[in-house]
Structures are given as C-alpha cells and as structure tokens.
C-alpha cells in the first residue's frame, strides 16, 4: 500500500479545511478491452460536503461509480472510508458501508407503495415470516419529516411525479443509514422547479453531515450546488475547482479539452415559403385521453419553430402524429402544399421529413445492431444499400464510414454494437442518419436530452446549418434554454394546446416559464385549465 502522489493537474484548492474525508478513492484504474475507462483517478468527499463529479458522457464517471458501488472491480487503486481501506465486492457491501446510490433511472416498483418500495431488500421482520411494516412506516415518516418531504407513505409509487419518485429513492438510501449518497445525473428528468426542490433537500442532507457525490455534466448545476468540483476527461482527473473561483466557461473547457461556445452563433433567419401547416390537429395519447386538443401552426422554410413546455403536455404525441407514428383523430397536416395527414413514417421519410426522436433507445437505434446498420435503419431498402431483396453490405459499410467521419461519431469501428457508444455518440449517429440528405422538414424531439456540452454544441450547429439550407425545423424541448437559444419563433404548449407564440429573439425567459407552468398570462401560479 504505497502512498500515491497526487496526479499532475489536480490542483487542490488551498482554502480547503483539513478534515478526514468520509470517502476517498485513490488511484482508481479500470481497463476495458481497448479502453482505459479510469486512469488513476483520485477523489475524496468530506463529511457534510457536496462534491460534484463533472465530465462528458463517456469520460468515465459511471465506471468510477460502478467501482465505488462494487459493480466493477478496479484493476488498481483503493477505496478508503474514514481513512480505513475497505473492500467493496458488490452493492450489498457498499450499502453495508453506508454508500448508497440514486440512479438516473429509478429502481422503483410502480405498483408498490412508498413504504413497500423503501423496505424492499431490507425488510424488517416480525418473527420469521411477517413483515413489520408498521415499524418501517414509522421510521419513514420520521425521516421524511426530518428532511422536509411531505410524503404520503402509502401512496403507490407509480402515481407519483418523477420528482417525488426521486425523493423516494433518496428516502430509501436514508432508510438504509446512508452516510455517503451518490446521485447519478439526478436532475436529468426534472423540471427547473423540481431541481430547485431537490437541491434544497441535498443541502439539508449535507448540513446534517451526509456526504454527497453529485455526478453531472450540467455546468450551471454543479456551480449552484457543489462545494467542490472535480472534472474528469477521458478517464483522468483534469482539475479540481471550488465554485466561487471558477465559471462555466472554464469548466466547459476543462471538461471538453478545448474552448466551447456555449451558445451557437446563429445568423438571421431568412424564412421562405410555408413548408408545414398543422391545422386543428387532435391526437389521442396512450391512455386514450386527448393529448393534443386542436393545435394550429405553420413553419416556413429556413425557420426554426421551438415548442416549449413542461414534458407531458402533448408534445410527444404532436410530433408522433406529424411524422406518422400516431394517427391523429382530427385535423390536417400539410407538407409543401400536399396533405400528408396519417401518412406512414416511410412515406413521410420519402417526402423529405427527418425525425430525431426523444427516446433514442426506443425509436432511434437498435441497441444490438452494429453502428453501420443503425446508420441505414430508415434507408436500408433503397439503392445503394439494397438491390431488390439483396442487401449491399459494401455500400452500407462505405456510407457508415463516411457518416461517422462527417458527423464525428466516436466509435472504434462501424461494426461495434450501437449500444457500446456513449449517449452523445448515439445521438450523433441518429443525427447523421437523419440529416444526411435533402430535407424539407426536420422534426426534433428533445434532441440533446442527457448530452454533454460538446455534443449539444455540435448538434445545435447542425440544426442551424439545416435551417440555413432552407429546411423547416420543428424543435420540441423541455429545456427552455435550448428552445430560447436556437428558435426563431417559440410556441408554448400547455395541456395539449398552444397557448402562445412568441418571437425567439425577444422572448423573455420568465414569461415563457410562467406560460409553461400555468398556460395563461393572467392565470395565477398553481395552474388552471387553459381552455
């Protein structure tokens, strides 16, 4: 057990008080075939500290957390708790040591109640076979009260909003006496308000002495919540900062390794003829309710229309109806003067419509297919990729090689499985497939959700380039900043209706935020129907 010297480039802030860290990871190295996922990473978290781990997708954050949680065995390095080296062989060891993780995708069972979910895996027993749920329930209510969440312990988890489900995850960790809480991209699925609320909870936890490791790639977020920030890139620690002494630009540069333009420089738009007209469109959602209740808008060639709205206000159903994945129950879609209502996705594709889906794993790629096949997923049946019933693998391969270069898709080869790519590269793959042809209309649903700044910058540039080439762009995003950044006009969607259309350059963030939350200018906060 030799002491490792701190790696070059990790300038520890001098102001930090000397307290024994609650958790210390020293020289963690993890190799996967062909990849050095973690290269001698050192990181420590002090008691009562919120320490942010910042890095792009694929930088090695998740691997490091898997090592900490016992899901991956490090090739080198040690883990110390309160200065004592521990061996973590699996998640149960980690939990026994007071390390708990709140995953990005919640590990909750929707049909069970809050109490049942929290007890799961750690059931208190009365006798040999009886569950002691009364005792558990009492403890959960106590914990919830102490940390200021007002939760009904008997409500079914499936009926809770995402923000509340996350709180259940945190409660679950606290119930297991977590001293060290690891949150993996906790805000990816939350609205801005929910984010603020969860941050308040985290601060409360830290003030009670819990140590929090907060994993994120959102710059403003880590600046807002963290006491210290460690930035990793390509498996190495590239710097450590405290929020007061840094800013978004510096962090972005550390994270990406080069200067990044956080906002895309877009010129004036030059709208041409109307490309897409949507008239009185009504669409039913999966549960049979009317998700889109009569929507009208038009987009001109060379124009980006952004649709802002809290997720779940009918945006997904709207775009699915436009591109043909869902049949509208009423209304019309007109593309370049031709009525295309109810056309199949293939017809729309052939008519010059491209679609970047919100759920890339569901619609965008086939996880088990090689990158090359995912790149021709919508074109596989056409020349040059096929002749009659035969595939032309050489043409597919050649196109894939060309597109991976052109769109900077980082992959060891075009023959590896698509799901081995990082999220950002998977999204670039979809963008490459959809953008690489003449388009009339480009439909983007949450095109940058969960992506790092480098990939976001790249995708936004591509979108603006398409606009300047005369494509009409429909952009749906729950990230208000994204809508504000690249839209020429902004429509706000609330409960299946477009409640306002604003100019993209003069629109005020707060005004849109209020419209998103309430649907009407004069409506009081708290929500009324927008009808």
């Amino acid at each position: 057990m030799t002491e490792t010297t701190p790696p070059i480039g990790s300038d520890v802030p001098a102001a930090a008080p000397v307290i024994a860290p609650a958790l210390e990871m020293r020289g963690i190295t993890k190799r996967y075939p062909g990849v050095l996922a973690n290269d001698h990473i050192d990181i420590d978290v002090r008691p009562g500290e919120i320490h942010a781990l910042l890095g792009e997708n694929g930088a090695g954050k998740t691997t490091l957390m898997n090592v900490l949680y016992g899901l991956a065995r490090p090739d080198e390095g040690q883990i110390l708790l309160d200065g004592q080296e521990v061996h973590i062989g699996g998640p149960s060891d980690a939990i026994d040591h007071g390390i708990n993780m709140v995953h990005q995708h919640f590990m909750l069972i929707p049909v069970l109640s809050v109490v049942e979910n929290i007890m799961l895996g750690d059931e208190s027993m009365r006798g040999l076979v009886l569950l002691d749920s009364a005792e558990a329930r009492r403890r959960i209510i106590d914990l919830a009260r102490r940390f200021g969440f007002d939760i009904d312990p008997d409500v079914r988890v499936g009926s809770l909003s995402v923000g509340w489900q996350q709180r259940v995850e945190i409660l679950k960790a606290l119930y297991r006496d977590a001293r060290i809480l690891v949150l993996d991209e906790p805000t990816a699925v939350l609205t801005p308000q929910e984010t603020d609320e969860i941050f308040a909870v985290l601060r409360r936890l830290a003030s009670e002495g819990h140590s929090i490791l907060f994993i994120s790639h959102k710059l403003y977020e880590v600046l807002q919540i963290a006491d210290r920030i460690t930035v990793i890139r390509r498996g190495r620690v590239v710097g450590q900062r405290i929020p007061a002494e840094t800013n978004e630009d510096e962090l972005a540069e550390l994270m990406v390794g080069r200067g990044v333009q956080l906002t895309v420089d877009r010129g004036e738009s030059h709208p041409g003829a109307v490309t897409l007209t949507v008239d009185g469109l009504r669409v039913k959602g999966d549960r049979g309710h009317e998700a889109v209740r009569g929507v009208d808008f038009a987009i001109r060639a060379g124009e980006i229309l952004g649709i802002a709205g809290v997720a779940g206000n009918g945006q997904d159903e709207l775009v699915e109806a436009i591109i043909g994945l869902r049949k509208p129950s009423a209304g019309q879609v007109v593309l370049a003067g031709r009525e295309v209502t109810g056309w199949s996705p293939r017809h729309m594709n052939e008519a010059g419509v491209a679609f970047v889906p919100a759920d890339r794993h569901r619609f965008g790629i086939v996880a088990s297919f090689p990158v090359s096949e995912c790149l021709v997923l919508t074109d596989y049946y056409r020349a040059p990729y096929s002749a009659g019933i035969f595939r032309n693998d050489d043409a597919i391969e050649a196109a894939a090689e060309r597109l991976t270069l052109e769109y900077d898709i980082r992959t060891p080869s075009v023959d590896v499985r698509a799901d081995t790519l990082s999220g950002g590269n998977q999204q670039k793959l979809i963008v490459a497939r959809e953008f690489a042809r003449e388009l009339k209309l480009l439909v983007l649903d949450q095109p940058t959700r969960g992506l790092d700044v480098g990939s976001i910058e790249f995708i936004h540039r591509q979108v603006v380039a398409k606009r300047d080439a005369g494509t009409a762009v429909l952009l749906v995003s729950a990230e208000l900043d994204e809508v504000l950044e690249i839209s020429d006009r902004i429509a706000v969607m609330f409960r299946g209706l477009i409640v306002a259309v604003l100019d993209g350059r003069t629109a005020d963030k707060n005004e849109i935020g209020l419209l998103m939350a309430t649907g009407g200018r004069e409506a009081p906060a708290g929500g009324v129907t927008a009808a």
Partner: protein
C-alpha cells in the same frame, strides 16, 4: 505499478493474431459449453443416486461406461455416424424454425405441430404420387410438407398480427389441433385397408433416396441447404434485416417504415415452413408412411437446439448434432449398461436449465465479458411477461 498510458493493451497476446479471434469465439461459446459440461456432470449424479435409490450396489464406473457406450453408439463406426446425422437433420430444420422466430422476437413453441402437419402433407402427396416419376413425386411431396407447415405457422402469425393473440398460447393450442388433424387423416382418408391399425400407404417413389450407409437419406443435405438459405436470408437480404429489426426493437422498426404485423405473419410462416420441411424429411426419408400416434419429440427438442445455438444458423448445426448424436447413441448405452434412454432427456433438460439460468454459470465459473445478451432468452421472458411487442 504499470505505465500510465492511455493505450495499455488489455491482455497479453500469447497466440499472436489468433488470440482476439479465440477470445471472440470463447465469449460466444462459453455459456453453451459450460452448460453442456455441467449437464453431463448432473447426468453422472443422476446415475449415481439412481443406483442407491434402486437399492443396487453402487458401481462407480457406471457413468464412465454409460458415456463411453453413448459415444460409441453415436460415433463408433460409419453406421453410427450416419445414424447420428439422420437424427440430427430434423433437429437442424426444427432448430432453424424456432431460431428464425426468435430472431423476430417470437417464441415458436409450435414447431411440433408444424412438424406433424409437414409430415402429413408429405405423406398425403407422396402416397398420391407413389407411382409417379421420382423427379415429380419427391419435390411435390417435400413442397407439400413445406406448404402445410407454413400454413400451420401462418395461423398463429396472422392471429398475432391481427388481434395480438400471443404466439406462445396459440402455437401450444395448435400443437394439439395438429395431433387431432393427423389422427383424423391417418385413420380416415389416408388409411390403408391392409392393416388393422390406422396406417397410411408407403410413399413409394416420393421417398428420399438413401445416399450414405444403411439409412443416410438425402434429407441431411436438405438440412444443410436450409442452414445456408436461412443464414443468407438473415445476413444478406432486406427481409432478414427487417425480421431482425422487428425482433430487436419493434418501435424502431415501425419508425423505420417496416411493417411489424406483416413481418410477424411472414416470419411465423417461414418458421412453419422449416418445421414442416423437417417433418417431411423424416417422413420421406425415415418412416415412409404415417401411423397414429406418430411419435416424435423433434418439435420440442428443436426449442432446446435453438436456445443452445442462440438462434445462430451455423450454431444450430452443432447444437442439433449434440442432441441428435445423443439420441442415436442412447440405444447402445441402454443395451450395454441398462441406463435408460431417458437419461438423454435429463441431460437435455438440464442443459436448457443452465442456459436459461445462465447467471448461475457466470457466477460459478466467474465468466466475465462473455456475451451477456441471449436474445432468445429475452424473448422467452418477455413471452411470459405479457407485454405485447407488436403494435
């Protein structure tokens, strides 16, 4: 300890350029191989404890002698080897029938019924053309088997496409219907008055010629040809691409402009065609007539074959050979050592158990990095999870 380079080679390369290939092969075959080894060990235990349960003196060499006889019975001489391939051929075709459906995310438990209908179609046309020239009678009988099997696959495929009726349920039910149809046909319209038992006439000129040894019929070649065709279909055609896409991600298939419902119907028909061809080759190459009950387990064993081979067409040859050779060798084993044929069923079932519960093997042998996904197992789990994938 080691140099801090971002390009550290992950493993030494003892065999030079062959090493990555060996690793790749091992990552694919590790699970099936370990399952087979463990199942053979379970077979040893079963033999050991049966002696105790039967109150016999325990003979520790029994297992060795039994397996020795099994191997001798399947590969000991030319006749044995040919017979192993005769047992293997229908399993290859059946394995393809189940495996192709797995590729489309469908669990075809109906290979048994499709096999019976294929045999029935072949015997009906074969008997009708028994005096016709071979060049007409044989292809017509084979074709009839394929068409009948395809029809028996099309029914559950169409039901799923139209109403979402789950193929696991409908194919199981159709297996029973197939038994009834065969019983009716063989004791009714196809019955020959010569015997008292329900029995059809011989297929005469429609029989598959014997090419090798005592019983090596041309159906073995048909099976290999089918492997090549299915491999080509999956790897080289747009239809194959569509089938694989629907199986791997039906939503993406819909978005990509494919027609999942149509593809379900097509795939089930093709699967039925292959199982029907299996039935036709057994009928025209081995039994040459049909009696009731037409006892066979080929359709069910095919599920094991497809799972063991993970639906890979070439892998199916090896998986089918394993089961086929065991079937071929079992009589000699029971003759010499009095270990009953049923041991083969035990071993076969145990292989399946280990394959499906593969986490046990991973833990036991610390197999890391071996192929984690087993598409076919996913399909099975989904089948019982009730989620209807096709919209």
């Amino acid at each position: 300890m080691t140099e801090r380079s971002a390009a550290t080679p992950p493993t030494p390369a003892p065999w030079g350029p062959l090493w990555p290939l060996a690793r790749r092969v091992w990552s694919v075959v590790a699970l099936p191989f370990m399952s087979i080894v463990l199942a053979l060990l379970v077979g040893v235990l079963v033999m050991f404890f049966s002696q105790i349960l039967a109150g016999q003196p325990v003979d520790p060499s029994l297992a060795v002698r039994a397996y020795q006889a099994l191997i001798e019975g399947s590969f000991g001489n030319v006749d044995a080897i040919v017979n192993s391939w005769v047992q293997t051929a229908p399993l290859i075709l059946g394995g393809l029938a189940v495996g192709l459906a797995f590729k489309a995310g469908l669990f075809n438990i109906g290979a048994q019924g499709q096999f019976l209908l294929g045999a029935l179609g072949a015997v009906a046309v074969g008997v009708a053309l028994k005096h016709a020239p071979v060049a007409l009678a044989l292809p017509a009988a084979l074709l009839a088997g394929m068409v009948a099997g395809a029809l028996w696959g099309f029914i559950p495929g169409a039901l799923k496409a139209i109403s979402g009726a789950h193929e696991v349920v409908t194919t199981i039910m159709l297996n029973y219907v197939a038994l009834g149809v065969v019983a009716w046909a063989v004791s009714g319209p196809l019955d020959t008055p010569v015997s008292l038992e329900p029995l059809t006439d011989d297929v005469g000129n429609a029989a598959l010629p014997i090419l090798l040894g005592r019983n090596g019929h041309a159906g073995i070649l048909v099976a290999f040809l089918a492997v090549a065709v299915v491999w080509w279909l999956l790897a080289r055609t747009t239809l194959g691409f569509e089938i694989k896409t629907v199986g791997a991600n039906p939503d993406a298939a819909r978005y990509a402009g494919m027609h999942p419902r149509l593809l379900v119907a097509i795939t089930m028909s093709l699967a039925g065609l292959l199982a029907g061809l299996s039935g036709a080759t057994v009928l025209l190459g081995v039994t040459r007539n049909m009696q009731v009950p037409y006892s066979t387990t080929v359709g069910f064993d095919s599920i094991a074959v497809a799972l063991l081979a993970r639906s890979n067409p070439v892998g199916i040859i090896f998986a089918a050979l394993l089961f086929g050779a065991m079937r071929a060798g079992a009589p000699l084993m029971s003759l010499r050592t009095l270990v009953p044929d049923q041991l083969i069923d035990v071993i076969q079932a145990t292989i399946l158990l280990f394959l499906v519960a593969n986490i046990v093997i991973r833990r036991l042998f610390r197999l890391r990095g071996v192929e984690a996904d087993i598409g076919s197992t996913d399909t099975i789990t989904r089948s019982y999870g009730g989620e209807v994938a096709v919209r």
